[in-house]
């Protein structure tokens, strides 16, 4: 049970709930929106994976299985996309002319976007193990998907 200004709140609240008390009208405000860590620093966003610049340096056959070098056009598109994201992302190259972005939530929920020159596809993996594949029509929809992923709480 939480206490705020000597008022006991009997309702069970999740840890992330923000509780505030307004003395003007003696009301209690409970904010339930989950806040996942947001990292605005561009360098920090690259931690733990690859920077877009490093993918530019990969030569043909970088994976030992004949993968092509990445086209500047694709990497520019990915860079533009990543720069607009305010959440932590992992960047990985694939062997099929695409770049994969991965997003994780502490509850084991996972979102993956695969960006190629002509397509943005993805996978949403839920804590239950269920997986949902999707194709997005454009970059804006992909950004919406990420925002939705980080601002929605999936029941476990």
């Amino acid at each position: 049970m939480r206490t705020l200004n000597n008022i006991e709140i009997a309702a069970p609240l999740p840890k992330f709930a923000e509780v505030s008390h307004s003395t003007a009208d003696n009301t209690i405000m409970i904010k339930l929106q989950h806040r996942w860590p947001i990292i605005n620093n561009v360098e920090a966003k690259k931690t733990g994976s690859n920077s877009i610049e490093s993918l530019q340096e990969l030569k043909a056959d970088w994976n030992g299985n004949g993968a092509k070098a990445f086209k500047k056009q694709l990497l520019d598109k990915v860079k533009l996309f990543v720069d607009r994201i305010s959440y932590h992302t992992h960047v990985f190259p694939t062997g099929r002319d695409s770049v994969q972005l991965e997003f994780y939530k502490p509850n084991k929920e996972y979102l993956e976007l695969e960006i190629s020159e002509n397509e943005i596809s993805g996978l949403h993996s839920y804590p239950t193990g269920e997986m949902n594949e999707f194709i997005l029509p454009n970059i804006n929809e992909a950004h919406k998907k990420i925002d939705f992923f980080f601002t929605t709480i999936t029941p476990q």
Binding site: L55, P93, G95, Q100
Partner: protein, 134 residues
Amino acid sequence: MKLIKRLIFSLQRSLPNKEVLYKSILTKNPNQWVDGENRPSSAAFKDSKGVSVDRKGWRKDKAIVKGFQKRFDNTAIVSLTVGKCRELDTYPVYDRNPTNIYHCLILKDKDTVKLTDSIAGKLSRNTNIVWVSE
């Protein structure tokens, strides 16, 4: 004894379910390893030429690791059985070539190379770590 094992292997074209497949995962320049989860990224299983793996054959893990280290500078090595691949709805095939007699490919099915995102994800989560560089 080694020679007999080698001879038996060279005659074996099929991939039995208990055969182990090894995959090298790049860990630096570029990195395809998810540190926080201690597993390969599914990106490592997305390949337009099929997922390149080596079968165990008659070799020991140590020899397999050494073989990969000769070919790749910064790598982790993971494994999974042919049976697991089939259970996850993929189609592993023996793809022996003059430079690598152990080479195999994991395909989606007999006629499709490209794995779906969910299959690539399942494969990456069902591997066993054989060796990771420090």
